[in-house]
C-alpha cells in the first residue's frame, strides 16, 4: 500500500559532503552501471551516440557557482539522488501501490511490475529523483543499492551502495540514521547536516554537508619591503605613443 509507515526500524541513507566532492561523476557512472546490470529494468539511453543523447540516471551531479559578498567565487559540485524521505510525497500519490517505503529500513522503492508509468510520483518529487525510463515505460529511482547492501554473495566491503563504494574522494557516506552512534549520524551532528528544500515538508533522510569556509594564509614576506616597486608609468617612446593614441 502507498500509505507511509508511521516509523521505520532503520533509516538507511546517505551523507553527501559538498566540501569533499570533486565533481568527477564516478558515482554517476557506477550507479548507472550497477543499476543497468542488476535489479529491475535497465537504465536506457536514447540516441547515445547521436546528435541529442539522453538517458535515465538515478544520480546526477550538478555544479553551482557561489559568489560570496567578498572574495572569489567558489565552484561546488552537487550530487543528487533520491533522499529516501520519511514523508515521501512520491509514495502517497501512486495510484497502483507500485511505490512504497519499506518498514524495515526506510528505503523507497518501485515495484516495476505494478507501475503504469503515469509519472505522477515524479511530479510529486521536488528533487527530480525519479525518472520515467523512455524504453521501459516504468519509473526508475535510486534503490540505495538494495541488491548490494544485503547481498551475501558480495565481499563485505562491497555491501554498500555503488556510488559510495566508488567515490574516490570519500564524499559519500552510507549508514543508519536511526542509530545515533552510526558514522552518518555522527557526521551529521558534527558538521550540521542539511535537508534540501526543508519547506517542502518531505523530511529527507539523506543529509548534505556544506562546504566549510576557506582558511586564509597570513602573508609573511620578509623580502617584500626591500624590493623596489615596478614602474607603472611608461617613459620615452612608450609614453609618447600612449599620449598620442590617447588623443586620437
Amino acid at each position: 500500500m502507498t500509505q507511509l509507515p508511521t516509523s521505520t526500524d532503520r533509516k538507511l541513507g546517505l551523507v553527501i559532503d559538498l566540501d569533499t566532492c570533486v565533481g568527477c561523476h564516478a558515482c554517476v557512472i557506477s550507479c548507472k552501471g550497477w543499476n543497468t546490470e542488476n535489479y529491475g529494468a535497465p537504465l536506457s539511453d536514447q540516441s547515445a551516440y547521436g546528435a541529442n543523447p539522453s538517458g535515465t540516471f538515478l544520480n546526477r551531479v550538478h555544479s553551482y557557482e557561489v559568489q560570496p559578498e567578498e572574495g572569489a567565487a567558489q565552484l561546488i559540485h552537487f550530487p543528487k539522488s533520491c533522499l529516501h524521505c520519511e514523508d515521501a510525497p512520491c509514495v502517497t500519490v501512486c495510484p497502483t501501490g507500485a511505490s512504497y517505503k519499506r518498514v524495515e529500513d526506510g528505503i523507497v522503492l518501485v515495484n516495476e511490475s505494478d507501475c503504469i508509468g503515469c509519472g505522477l510520483c515524479a511530479w510529486a518529487c521536488p528533487y527530480g529523483a525519479r525518472e520515467l525510463d523512455a524504453a521501459e515505460g516504468v519509473m526508475k529511482k535510486c534503490t540505495l543499492c538494495v541488491d548490494r547492501i544485503y547481498n551475501e554473495n558480495l565481499p563485505e566491503e562491497d555491501r554498500e551502495p555503488a556510488c559510495v563504494r566508488t567515490c574516490p574522494a570519500g564524499a559519500r557516506h552510507f549508514g543508519d540514521f536511526a542509530d545515533p552512534n552510526s558514522n552518518v549520524s555522527k557526521l551529521t551532528a558534527e558538521r550540521g547536516g542539511m535537508d534540501l528544500m526543508p519547506e517542502q515538508g518531505t523530511k529527507p533522510v539523506n543529509k548534505y554537508l556544506l562546504p566549510r569556509p576557506k582558511d586564509k594564509m597570513e602573508e609573511i614576506d620578509i623580502l617584500a619591503p626591500l624590493l623596489a616597486p615596478i614602474a607603472l608609468e611608461p617613459k620615452g617612446f612608450m609614453a609618447w605613443l600612449d599620449k598620442t593614441l590617447e588623443k586620437i
Partner: protein
C-alpha cells in the same frame, strides 16, 4: 510542465462530460426518450473519451486497472473509483429516462454528486502537488469545478444556469492567473533552499549534470510558448467566456448555441494548455531554470 495533449484533452473533455452529467442528474433538463438518449450519449462520449485519452500517456496502459487499488492515499485512484461510480449511477438514471420516461430524482442527485466529486478529484491530482506552487491551492479545484458545470450548463442549453456560471468561471479564471503569477516566488522554495548554499553567497547554476537534455527537463521545464501567455489568456477568455455569454444573452438559435459550445471548448483547451505550460516545478531550480 510539459503540456501533453493527452492530459489537456482528458481534463477538458471529461470536465465538460461530467459537468453535463451534473446538470442532467439535477433534472436540468429532464428529457425523455430519444432526446434523453442524445443528451446522455453526448455526456458519455465526452466523459469516457476524456478518460480514455488520459491512458494515452501511460508507460503501461495495459496495467491501468491497477490504479483502482490505492484509494486511501491517491487522488488519481479516487478519481478512477468516482468516475466509474458516477458513470454507473448516471447510466441507470439515464436508462430510466430513455426507456421508461421515468426520472428517478434521488438517483439523479446521487449521480450528479458523484460526477461533481469526480471533477473535484481530478483537480486534486494537481492541487495536491506542493512541488508546483501555481497548482497548490484550493483555487485549482474551484476553477476546475466551476468550468465543468458552466460548460455542462452550456451543453445542456440551460441559459439561466449557464450564464451566471460562465461569468463566475471567467472571474475565477482571471483571479487564478493573477494569483498564480506570484505563487512560485511566494512559495518559499528557491535556489537557496534547494541547494542550502544561500548562506555562503549568491548561487548560480554553473553546469548541468549532462550536456544533453533529460526526462526531468522535458517533463517539468517547459519554456517554449510561455512568451505568448498574455495573448493566449485573452484569446482563451474571449472564446471560453466572452463568446458564449454574448450568444446566450442575445439569442437561443440552436446554430448560434452550437457556435457558443465550440468556442467554449476551444477556449477551454487554450486555458488548459496555459494551466500546464505556465506551471513551474521546483525541480527546475536545480537546473537554474523555471
Amino acid at each position: 510542465m510539459h503540456p501533453a495533449p493527452s492530459v489537456i484533452i482528458f481534463t477538458s473533455l471529461s470536465g465538460l462530460g461530467f459537468g453535463l452529467l451534473v446538470l442532467l442528474g439535477l433534472g436540468l433538463p429532464a428529457p425523455t426518450g430519444i432526446m434523453a438518449f442524445i443528451y446522455f450519449a453526448l455526456a458519455y462520449a465526452l466523459a469516457v473519451g476524456g478518460l480514455m485519452a488520459s491512458t494515452f500517456h501511460l508507460g503501461h496502459p495495459e496495467r491501468a486497472f491497477k490504479a483502482f487499488s490505492q484509494w486511501k492515499t491517491s487522488w488519481l485512484s479516487r478519481e478512477a473509483w468516482l468516475a466509474v461510480a458516477a458513470l454507473i449511477v448516471m447510466a441507470l438514471y439515464g436508462a430510466g429516462l430513455v426507456f421508461y420516461d421515468l426520472a428517478l430524482a434521488p438517483l439523479g442527485w446521487l449521480g450528479a454528486s458523484l460526477s461533481l466529486a469526480t471533477v473535484y478529484s481530478t483537480s486534486m491530482i494537481y492541487a495536491q502537488l506542493k512541488t508546483i506552487p501555481r497548482w497548490n491551492t484550493p483555487l485549482t479545484s474551484l476553477l476546475f469545478v466551476i468550468l465543468s458545470i458552466a460548460g455542462g450548463g452550456l451543453l445542456a442549453v440551460q441559459i439561466p444556469v449557464a450564464l451566471p456560471l460562465l461569468v463566475g468561471a471567467g472571474i475565477v479564471q482571471v483571479v487564478y492567473w493573477i494569483w498564480g503569477d506570484q505563487a512560485f516566488d511566494e512559495s518559499g522554495t528557491n535556489m537557496a533552499s534547494a541547494t542550502r548554499l544561500g548562506d555562503q553567497g549568491s548561487v548560480r547554476a554553473f553546469e548541468p549534470p549532462h550536456t544533453g537534455t533529460n526526462y526531468l527537463l522535458y517533463e517539468f521545464v517547459h519554456v517554449v510558448g510561455r512568451k505568448h501567455a498574455a495573448k493566449l489568456r485573452i484569446i482563451s477568455l474571449i472564446l471560453m467566456i466572452g463568446t458564449p455569454v454574448l450568444i446566450l444573452s442575445m439569442n437561443e438559435n440552436i446554430f448560434l448555441i452550437l457556435i457558443a459550445v465550440l468556442a467554449h471548448a476551444a477556449g477551454l483547451f487554450v486555458s488548459r494548455w496555459l494551466f500546464f505550460a505556465q506551471a513551474e516545478h521546483v525541480v527546475g531550480l536545480y537546473y537554474g531554470k523555471r
